[in-house]
Amino acid sequence: MTSDKVETLSAAQWFKENSEIAGFDNPGKSTFTSVRELVENSLDACDDDIQLLQMRGEEIEYPNINVVIHPVSHERIRQKILANLDGGGSGPVLEGIEDFEIEHDPSEKYYVIEVGDNGPGIYHDLISLVFGTVFTGTKYGIKQGRGRFGMGAKMAMIHAQKTTGLDTEIWSATRDVSEESYFRIKIDLKSNSPIYTTQKIIPDKPWHGLRMRLYLGGNLIWAKQRILEYFKQMSLVTPYVNFRLVIGDEKYLFQRVTDEIPPLPIETKPHPHGIDIEELKEMVKRYPRKYVIKNERNEGFPTLAEFLHIDFQGIGEGTAKKFLRYKVDIAPNMPLNELNEAHIFKLSQAMSTYDDFPAPDSSCLSILPHESLEQAANALLEPEYINSVTGKIIAIKGHPVHITTSVAFGGNIPTGATLYRFANRIPLLFKERSDVCYKALEEANIKRYIDINVHGVTVMVSVVSTRIPYQDAAKDFIADYDELRETIKLSMQKAFRGIKTYVSRREEEKKKEQEFEKLKEHANRLGVSLAKITKGIPMSESEIQSRLMKIIMSEYSIDK
């Protein structure tokens, strides 16, 4: 192949043509995914905001996330294109889309989707960058987060462009300025760069957060139940957030149930097992630069041992030297700029197979406390009892993976077993049967612990990690690693055992109570008859009854 024949597909172009891998495979799924991408962006932004405020010791604001899905007719979309008007309103909170009537005819498959938050917003100058170019984002570090590829919002925007040709509207305001930025953006697919129709700063708008509005073609008939389910489950794992959802003229509120903010994730350095050869090259290329070693500021290139120590987690200089000398066979004091391709290849190979590095650091993960999840589950599912179990932390390809399992039992839960899967606090709704959690549930053999023909059970598995081991880029389900499946299975079984104990204790108590009632009832009868036969001598009816009760009470310590 000659080089002049090679055409470079821009990233944006490529994704337009392969949108199914990002969850835009059909109108229904696209509607769902658009909502989901914007909501998860808002959640990430609000979490960052909280973290920042906590660091500064300032009072935090609980996240409010507003979602409006507004069916409109094709005619209105056409008028909008012709008029080329700006959307109205200001601030994150919108009850509906005023300038559009709700279209009730389900055969019209156009929607205005708007998601707003009270997060940190984005500075005016950054907006066109992060929203106008695929693969730009601020979440590339090693950190437990919802977004990571820098494409979610853009995929939704491209989908909107593709189906209606209309621009995406963005309103943003930050804490430190009292003005609002307003943008109308399209993505130029050829050059993967933004095209603005409007870009302006409106003064005297003191709010903060971000609001995005998309005009897109989709299918709500399919998506509606999924979206509702998504918010329902989302409210379980982010119980510190208020979600308001408006679909047409229906309103849904998923109220914050806790004041407790879980410890939020911290960014860490990569673990040597979690880096491939390309990533390693990238890391080396960042030099020369300023770096600190042994409390001394340096500039330029460190030695190879110093590089490992500075850029990876859990590698002391001693470990680095030992590793380089005995495993890789490169001199530890080789300056980084002398590293050639062969060295990097050798180093990468050795790093992924060396077993003596400490396990990946899990302290950077954000684990929702059981109490918060249980509080949310109590409000939402109204079970009789919940049992939560923290599974052990394992490492998958250099990333710590942490499992929590909560099992809600009885009450208003319909009979049978339902599985809720969460990955970094995002509900997974699709391809359940392929998911490692589903396979673990099958192996856990719930019937040995709980009679699900009689009792309802919701099994909630939350997997958090600096990198969730998804099977593929659609992020629909978690891949089936043996160690992961085994860990999830064991934590499920432990939770089921807890439920079993609870049920038998409850039944025991119920039985005792019934026995007590029965004894009491018959003791009264005995008192009547015995007193009658003996004409009250030597004891009156009430005396017989109270003596009988005394005997019963001594055997049943029921507080009555």
Binding site: L519, H522, R525, L526, I533, R547, I551
Partner: protein
Amino acid sequence: MSQTSQNLKIIEELQKLKKIEIEAIKAPKDALKIKELSLEETKQGIEDIALNLLSLLDFDERPAISVPIRSAQNTIVDQETGHIFLGHNAVTRSLSPASVRQLAVLIRVADGIHELLTLGRHSTKRELFYTDVNLFQDQTISDRAIEDLAVTLRTIRNATNIVASAKGKIIGRIRFRESGDLIDCTKMGTGGKAITPFQEQVEDIDSDAEFVLLVEKDAAFMSLSEAKIYDRYPCILMTGIGSPDIATRMMLRRIVEETGIPVFAIMDADPYGLEILRSYTFGSKALGYETPWLVTQNIYWLGLRPEDMQNYKIPKEVYIPLTDADRKKGKELLDEIWLQNKPKWAEQLKLMLRSGVKAEIQALASKGFEYMTETYLPQKLESADWI
């Protein structure tokens, strides 16, 4: 041959079966000792039970009482006579979750009976049930408790002044006084006289019958009484209508005691027919404690016997295959000790189990409506075909 001379020949045969002296039935040594108690004694017994329970309360002990078991687990059979009695095995009813209800039922029944005795009145089982429907819930519960109380008091049910409503019937060559009234059972139409539950009110039994014809079911009783069988043969016709009550069994025993005549039984040819025959002859397990008052010694099995089905050429269409329950019951009966006293009965039972079929008395009607009265019965009697 004229009918009278025919009958005379039968009567000669029957004379041989007559027993001059009917001995009282003695319970074996290891059986529970049961006595007929007077009204005062029964009342006193109930009061003693109550006082015993109360005395336990003084020590903060659960009130408890021991009640003899009335079932197969506590049955003793007199090896010599085959009579069925109760042994000394008992269960405890106490203020415990497992048995408090039975204790309460027993004491509630005791309370009701105590009241009856105080008033000097009788009452039916049904009435007693209605004194506390809430507690008893089902009449079988209070019925059983009455018998439990009787056996706990080591007496018979009659001593509790509780009677069952009349069930059995009698007709034919017998007269007696009942509560002072003269009853002539030859003048009872076709329906017969109800056998009164108040057996102690029956006196002055007088009869010229040569045998008792005891039938299992009402249907057979009706056709025999309609045919006025007791005019053709000097006999008394009786039925307990299925499983006999205490009064019927007692009455039968007394007739035989007074007259010494034999009893010929006509039962269905199935395991339940034989079981009913057993309860008349040897006693029942649930009422084993009353056996000396209830069983009759002079009983013969006339029909319908399994062998009759061949001998009388009863058409196959009216045979009924034995059910699993029949087989089970049949095998159980075969193992029971009393049957050793009746080897011929045992033969019939074995024959039934082997052939795998049973038949009701009504099966005889397949050979004509009058076949039983005109052919079957006369043939049986004339050929002395009883075992």
